[in-house]
Amino acid sequence: MTIRTDLFNIGSSGLRAANAQLNSASNNIANVNTEGYSRERNTLVSSQIGGVVIQGVERIVDRFAIAQLRRDNSAVEEASAFTDNASRIDDILANEANSVAESLSRFYGALQTSVDEPTNIAARDLVLGQADAVLGQINTLESFLANRQSDLNQEIDSIVQEANGLIQNIADLNLQIQVLSNTAGADSPTALLDARDQAILDLSGIVGISTRPGENSTVQVDLSSGQSLVLQDGTFNFFEISGDPDLNFTSLSLAVPDSSFTVPVGDEADVGGQLGGLFRFRNEVLSETQRDLGLIALTFADALNSQNNLGLDFDGQIGPDIFSIDDFQGLNYAANADLNSTLIGRIADGESDRVTSRDYRVTVDNVVAGGPTIDVTIEAINPDGSPVLDSSGNAISQTLTGLNATSGVFNATFDGIEIDFASGTSYTAGDQFLLQPSRSAGSRIDLALTRPEDLAYASPIRVESNIANLGDASISGSTVTNTSIGAIADSSAFTAAAGIQGPGASPTGGGGVGAPVEVFFTAADSFELRDAAGTVVVAVNGATNLSNVIAQGAATAGYPAQFLPPNRTDYPGYDISIQGVPRAGDSFTIAFNVDPVTGVPGVEDNRNGQQLAALETDDVVRRSNSDGFLATGDPASSPSAQSLVGVSELYSIIVSDVGQQTARSQVVRDAAEVLQQQSRNRVDETSGVNLDEEAANLIRFQQAYSATARVISTAQALFDSILNATG
């Protein structure tokens, strides 16, 4: 039989134990509202030699419940960050006062009214006012989005700092816990463990993490993608943010302290937690919306410009551009040899239906100083820099060789973009530039017209039947497709002096025929196209119909080659259709739409105005980003009809896209919150303080204390009785 120690020792160990238990209960009560506090319990064992031994204070925790809580916390924070930001854009799009579709509707309403009465200058003025309002509306939204982006950058900045603080905190706590756990006889550092768990939980809200227990109660923290944040040996890595090439489009990397070594995190949108949510919002909602909105502005402005160019204004001149669209600068990548190199891009006139919301990376492959020419590779990329994939999953990229490297010369590339090597040949092979043609394009567009008279509602051609005609044919329609003036291949038959090129002035040169301006019938189904001097340009015999008679002439042998591609891509730039049966000797003439005697333009004419108004519903925006490149300026490669949508339609697509993403993320967030609540309950069930339980414990430990006190008083009484018996 074991020799027991005496009553005094047993009693005093009991008192110590009861005291310790009372302390723990009190500590639990005191920390009832402390975040991250896990309730404590004393581990007691009965001693071999009698009495009770306090083994230590134990935190009551469920390690698996905590790990689950961290994961759910990451999910909730990620979904909340995404939802909070997306719903702010959702809110602003919901507001009818901000609706671009409404302002487009008002603009086209004003345009229709004005086109109905082309001579009403006040109505024309209103059109310009509404055009300005549309731009203002787009600019308001764009600057809202730009502000969101800079707010987002600040938010990311401060969150990264917070994360770095937590990482350092965890590393420090690891060290202290390691020291204390190695100290023999020391109590378990419950407060430090609680603090570390809380810091890890906080960190899990910022990024998705996983933990591994290490030696000596340390813990190793990794990103869920694998990179280490806090290592067992007490070292740690910091987050760093940088923007290359777009300073406003930041990316995340890990840096080792006191070294220049950094590792990119990879896909920022996948890091999870609040940071992941913010990056994902930026890549999936903000960037897309900025580009789509820019695309609306670009196509709205360019389509109206192009159509206005095809008309005749109130003053009898070919319509000028309604909007000015500024060039955009390519952004230098940080690795470029000379960061002062500039690459300038612009949208080719009238080709906005080829522009997409993609970004482009231009890589200089080779510079030939003697040319001077440059070879480049152009890749279509997403806002986050990843390649855009086509329908078969391949990256879309193409090489262009021998581009003119003279500053000020724009080279046709792809998707309606032209680039100017503004730095001449001072590029180095390997230099890269980022082109963002559609991002915030609205801010690059201004109303260029100040005079309402410059709106070109009339057609530049007047088509007249000869009054001596005896047949019953009449003009059924006229089209104008090109009015550009100059000597280049895409020029039309219109002259700078408000006329149509006659003999000598046309591409056939001196002694040649002029542009076809008369359709003279030699029989009901045969006609001659004649120039202004009456010289036959080409004779068409046996026509089956009389629509687009100039195109029929162009397809007939004998039509001057100088009028046809590749010499002229669209010459003369107009055509007419005739219906009914003409008689031999009937003729129809085409002239510049200005009265030959008075010089007054056809001001009541609104044929081009109808075309302008029709742009409201015309499909002019290229919506498919997974299509291959379309060569700029090449009429043979035009966007397919099914890839185009209308301008207001694109706006409704934006609204519904943002709405869908917001709605989806709200569902995800709500689901994640339920899961988080459950795992928090699981943690709280184990580790949380219940005051009623502690109240009961207080009574229990108090009773134990009283009882052990009685043991001591009994021992005292026993001792006294022995003294008395011997005394």
Binding site: A86, S87, D91, L93, A94, A101, S105, R106, Q112, T113, D116, E117, T119, A458, S459, R462, V463, S465, I467, A468, N469, L470, S474, T522, A584, G585, D586, N593, D595, T598, V600, P601, G602, E604, D605, R607, Q610, T617, E649, S652, I653, V655, S656, V658, G659, Q660, T662, Q666, N681, D684, E685, G688, V689, N690, L691, D692, E693, A695, A696, I699
Partner: protein, 408 residues
């Protein structure tokens, strides 16, 4: 045995109160705005549809305004054409009256004066203006009069000076109609009476008149060659027996037939009556005159000059009477075509107006269904959410008041 911590008791109560508050505020917003879709995320597809429906409604309303404008302008044109028609009918009546052989010179002058008045009235109507001062028949040259009076002209002195371009108005997605007509098409492009003249003759006497305008017109249109003028010359050749005439085309040499003939009596060929005294082997050349186009004002002006001419021969007077009657009839036909064209466009605009109205109603209904909330349901929902909130608040005080410490 499961346990629950104090934090859980409080958190759960607070969370349920917060959730109930969010639902109350959402329900309240639906009642206040009357909108089922407050944010696009409430119904992304519905939100996009609402935008498109709103755009379509705006466009339809614009089409309805355009339609009103079109109707006004067509009705004005119709009224002007009716006035012209009335004036021309009066002039035609006077022309028939002027054909009465019993009339003296003074009577003709009196009729001539009235014809001049009608001419001026029609000329004035040609230059009708709309409310904005635009000349409605001038085509796109609407700032200047459609017709001018140019007494120095060698051709017609009442001339059209606008163009053929007519402004258009869109009244539905696919229907674009002309708002009017060019005076060139309605008034100017009207044939004057077609005629022919004897150009050379070896016969003792040869005169020609149009005795049957209808058959002459048919012959004219079948044979007139606008490209080669020589092909408009024809020759009558009397045969050796002097009892037949062969008709041939001088330009092409084509034979048009051989017809019986008695010298001294009228020889009629396709509505042309030749008063011919001819011997065997004689030839008579006649040609088809280049067709003229004359508007009402020009035709009436020509006629008024004839009426004022006291020394005119009977045959010339007859010719002038035919000229005016046929010229006016051709013009009236063109006028009738224009009027029926206007009627057709008015019919189209009426039916488009009706179908647009139907579309407006159905689009508005569709938008209401998507966007607007059922008020009764929304109010009931608000009441339900409010009572849920009250219940949560009530349980909070109950549950959190329980504490063992109160009994120690």
């Amino acid at each position: 045995m499961s346990r629950i911590s104090n934090n859980q008791i409080f958190d759960q109560s607070i969370n349920s109160i917060l959730r109930a508050q969010v639902r109350v505020s959402e329900a309240q917003e639906r009642v206040n705005t009357g909108r089922a879709i407050v944010n696009p995320s409430d119904d992304p597809v519905g939100a996009a549809l609402t935008i498109r429906l709103t755009e379509q409604l705006n466009q339809l309303n614009q089409f309805q305004r355009n339609n009103d404008l079109l109707t006004n302008s067509l009705e004005q044109e119709e009224a002007v054409l009716r006035s012209i028609n009335d004036a021309v009918l009066r002039a035609r009546q006077l022309a028939i009256q002027a054909g009465n052989g019993a009339l003296g010179t003074q009577d003709r002058v009196a009729i001539g004066l009235e014809i001049e008045t009608i001419r001026d009235q029609i000329f004035d109507l040609f230059n009708s203006q709309d409310a904005d001062g635009n000349y409605i028949f001038a085509g796109s040259q609407s700032q200047s009069p459609a017709f001018i009076f140019d007494p120095t002209s060698t051709g017609n002195i009442y001339q059209f000076q606008g163009d053929e371009t007519v402004s258009q108005i869109q009244i539905s997605d696919n229907v674009i109609l002309d708002t009017g007509d060019s005076g060139k098409v309605i008034f100017e492009d009207v044939l004057a009476r077609l005629s022919s003249d004897v150009t050379a003759s070896t016969a003792a006497s040869a005169n020609s008149t149009i005795s049957d305008q209808g058959s002459f017109d048919r012959f004219f249109f079948a044979n007139y060659d606008a490209i080669t003028p020589a092909n408009n010359n024809f020759r009558l050749t009397v045969n050796g027996a002097g009892n037949q005439i062969a008709v041939s085309n001088v330009g092409t040499g084509a034979a048009l037939g051989t017809f019986n003939f008695v010298s001294g009596s009228p020889f009629v060929f396709n509505g042309i009556q030749f008063d011919l005294t001819a011997a065997p082997g004689d030839t008579v050349d006649f040609s088809l005159n280049t067709p003229q186009k004359k508007n009402f004002a020009e035709t009436l002006n020509d006629f008024s000059v004839v009426l004022g001419n006291e020394n005119i021969s009977d045959s010339a007077y007859e010719q002038a009477l035919s000229d005016v009657l046929i010229g006016l009839d051709n013009g009236l036909e063109s006028l009738a075509n224009a009027t029926s064209g206007i009627g057709g466009r008015l019919n189209v605009s009426q039916s488009v107006l009706a179908s647009n109205q139907d579309l407006v109603i159905s689009n508005e209904e569709a938008r209401r269904d998507i966007r607007e909330v059922d008020t009764a349901e929304a109010i009931a929902d608000l009441a339900q959410q409010t009572s849920a909130l009250e219940a949560s608040q009530a349980t909070f005080t109950r549950v959190t008041q329980l504490s063992l410490f109160d009994f120690l």
